[in-house]
């Protein structure tokens, strides 16, 4: 299957900070990819580079067979939804449908009306009077009405309550099921991601830590638990992502490329959350605590 997004060494530096560093990822066609990582990891920067809203300092991105650029044909293929869900506050949904109709070659305004009427969002009221969830629904519907080949969504779930999240993801899954659509969706909410996503890009400290199909990633990673023991033997064969040690036992998150033979270690499957947290906390001393500590239900601080 061809890659819709293929980047190599994509780097974005602002005056002093490096927002994204040497980002090389590949997202195959038809995936719903979750872009996760702590705040400030470069998720927004990556999405903006892919949308052509920002230019990379170095490196290259190939999206749908071309570089992201200010060009009507390219922009027609991209659906971008920024984090703060920017819409014209004093205009109605119907006004926005009109704007879209005048600025896009293929535009399905009717689909917006259908989607909104299904979730009972009024078309004739200013956006400012809508709730956060309604606004997000409207913005997603407008983005989908472009009939894009690639949908880039920056934390669309952050401001939504659980019910609104469910509706939003439902709309998204339905659109993706119709085919011809690839989605990259940044979020902190692992549980929601697990429901709809089948691909994962993990950024931390402006670098790519992990990129691949979730199924493969789950297969590759294991949690090893054993007595407190020297782990160099394990490290020779497998990549240890994270190591937690207590006086009595050692817990390892490892990326496997074969079975563990030593019976000292008990092997368990790793959950998405354990994998994500494992990679995100690699260099963070605060996280190097006992595994018995209460688990975070989500990654990052937006919850």
């Amino acid at each position: 299957m061809s890659a819709v997004i293929q980047t190599s060494g994509l780097t974005k530096r602002y005056r002093r900070v490096t927002a994204l560093s040497d980002c090389t990822i590949s997202v195959p066609e038809g995936r719903i990819s979750a872009l996760v990582g702590p705040n400030g990891a470069g998720k927004t920067t990556l999405l903006r580079l892919l949308a052509g809203l920002a230019e990379p300092t170095t490196g290259q991105a190939i999206v749908l067979g071309g570089t992201p650029r200010q060009d009507p044909a390219y922009l027609a293929e991209i659906g971008f939804l920024a984090q703060e869900v920017p819409l014209y506050r004093r205009r109605t949904a119907e006004d926005h449908i009109g704007i879209g109709a005048h600025l896009n070659p293929r535009w399905d305004g009717e689909s917006v009306r259908t989607r909104l009427s299904r979730v009972r969002i009024p078309l004739d009221r200013p956006v400012a009077t809508l709730s956060g969830g309604q606004r997000a629904q409207l913005a997603l519907a407008l983005t989908l009405a472009k009939r894009p080949g690639l949908l880039l969504l920056d934390e669309p779930l952050a401001a939504l309550d659980p019910l609104a999240r469910q509706r939003f993801l439902g709309t998204l899954a339905e659109a993706a099921a119709a085919g011809g659509l690839t989605v990259v969706l940044s979020s902190h909410l692992i549980a929601d991601i697990e429901r709809v996503c089948d691909h994962l890009i993990l950024l931390a400290e402006s670098r790519v830590q992990l990129c691949g199909d979730i199924e493969t990633l789950l297969e590759e990673h294991r949690i090893l638990t054993g007595p407190r023991k020297d782990t160099t033997a394990i490290a020779r064969t497998y990549a240890i992502v994270r190591e937690d040690t207590t006086p009595r036992q050692t817990t390892l998150l490892v990326r496997m490329n074969g079975p563990v033979i030593n019976p000292v270690w008990s092997v368990e499957e790793a959950s998405m959350e354990e994998i994500v947290l494992g990679y995100m906390s690699q260099d963070d001393p605060d996280y190097s605590t006992e595994r018995a500590a209460p688990r975070l239900s989500a990654v990052g601080g937006d919850q």
């Binding site: 809203l53 009507p72 819409l87 600025l103």
Partner: protein
């Protein structure tokens, strides 16, 4: 994009049209009155051949409140730039809606071209319409006082207001794009427009073309014909320099009286003739340097051109920045 622009600015357009209509009604009523008075005075002076003395007389053409209002229309050209120009990009950047607009299937270049194009046109039309009615209204007043070329008259009539309006709009759009914030952009637009208008009107305009200098005998004062633009005026001696103040330092209209002629001052009883004759015999001459009334349209053209070029530069900068900078 034209539809989108119209949708965004339709209420402002209606409001501007309403305000213009109100101004037009006021100027139409008072202007018709002034025209009637002027016409009446002309027919009468033609009958007794006294029209030469009409210019500069105190013929009551209308009340001073309206005359002040007309001078105040020099603020009209900056308004579209302030109210529509400065926020047009800045407010999108402030609210993030540019991310919505610029990810539709339209390039930023075209988005700006259409929007800025219509806004520039709107500013030009509004300023042009106000100027047209002000120009018509000013006809009798300028004829009576022969000051069409003066600051505050020249600046509100004919084509220069269109140039000002285009410049203010371009400045507003450019400032909003560079500063990314509406309020600072408003400030810069107002200050920038005011400063450049002032500098040009007070110091630069006089020098668009080489002015004409006429020397005259002090005993037969010379005033250039028609609505001329004075550059400078004074008295020079045979050596080409103005008289220096003597011991007495008595002066007439700021011109020091040469020592040799001061003796006449005491007995003049406000009759300057002996002094002026004395100065003439000592080789002093009066001079006036001015731009003749015939250059009025050339100056209108030059000034409009200057502001149009400034506007073009600002719009060029805006395009460049919008295209190059990350959204």
């Amino acid at each position: 994009m034209t539809w989108v622009t119209w949708q965004q600015y339709r209420y402002q357009a209606v409001a501007a049209a309403a305000l213009f209509a109100a101004l037009a009604v006021v100027l139409l009523i008072t202007g018709l009155h002034a025209a009637a008075v002027w016409h009446f005075a002309l027919t009468h002076c033609a009958a007794d051949k006294s029209c030469a003395s009409l210019v500069g007389s105190d013929l009551p053409l209308g009340n001073s409140v309206i005359a002040t209002l007309v001078v105040a229309t020099s603020a009209v050209p900056v308004l579209p730039g302030l109210l529509w120009g400065a926020p047009t990009v800045a407010s999108e950047l402030e609210t993030g809606t540019n991310q919505f607009a610029w990810t539709q299937s339209i390039t930023r270049r075209r988005w700006l071209a259409v929007r800025a194009g219509w806004l520039l046109l709107a500013a030009a039309v509004l300023a042009g319409a106000v100027s047209a009615i002000v120009t018509w209204w000013s006809g009798p007043f300028n004829a009576l006082t022969a000051d069409a070329f003066q600051v505050n008259r020249f600046d509100v009539t004919d084509i220069v207001p269109v140039g000002y309006a285009i410049f203010a709009m371009a400045l507003g759009i450019c400032a909003g794009t560079l500063l990314r914030r509406t309020l600072p952009a408003l400030g810069i637009t107002l200050a920038g427009f005011g400063a450049i208008r002032l500098v040009i009107a007070l110091w630069i305009r006089k020098h668009y073309l080489t002015p004409i200098t006429v020397y005259y005998k002090l005993t037969t004062p010379f005033t250039p014909p028609g609505s001329y633009l004075p550059v400078s005026q004074g008295v020079v001696g045979a050596n080409g320099y103005p008289p220096t103040s003597g011991a007495g330092a008595v002066g007439v209209d700021g011109v020091p009286i040469p020592a040799a002629c001061q003796q006449f001052m005491g007995r003049t009883n406000f009759n300057l003739r002996p002094v002026l004759s004395c100065m003439t015999t000592h080789g002093y001459r009066g001079y006036v340097t001015y731009q003749p009334a015939s250059r009025f349209w050339a100056f209108q053209g030059i000034e409009t051109g200057i502001f149009a070029v400034l506007a073009a530069v600002l719009i060029g900068i805006t395009f460049w920045v919008l295209r190059r900078r990350d959204a």
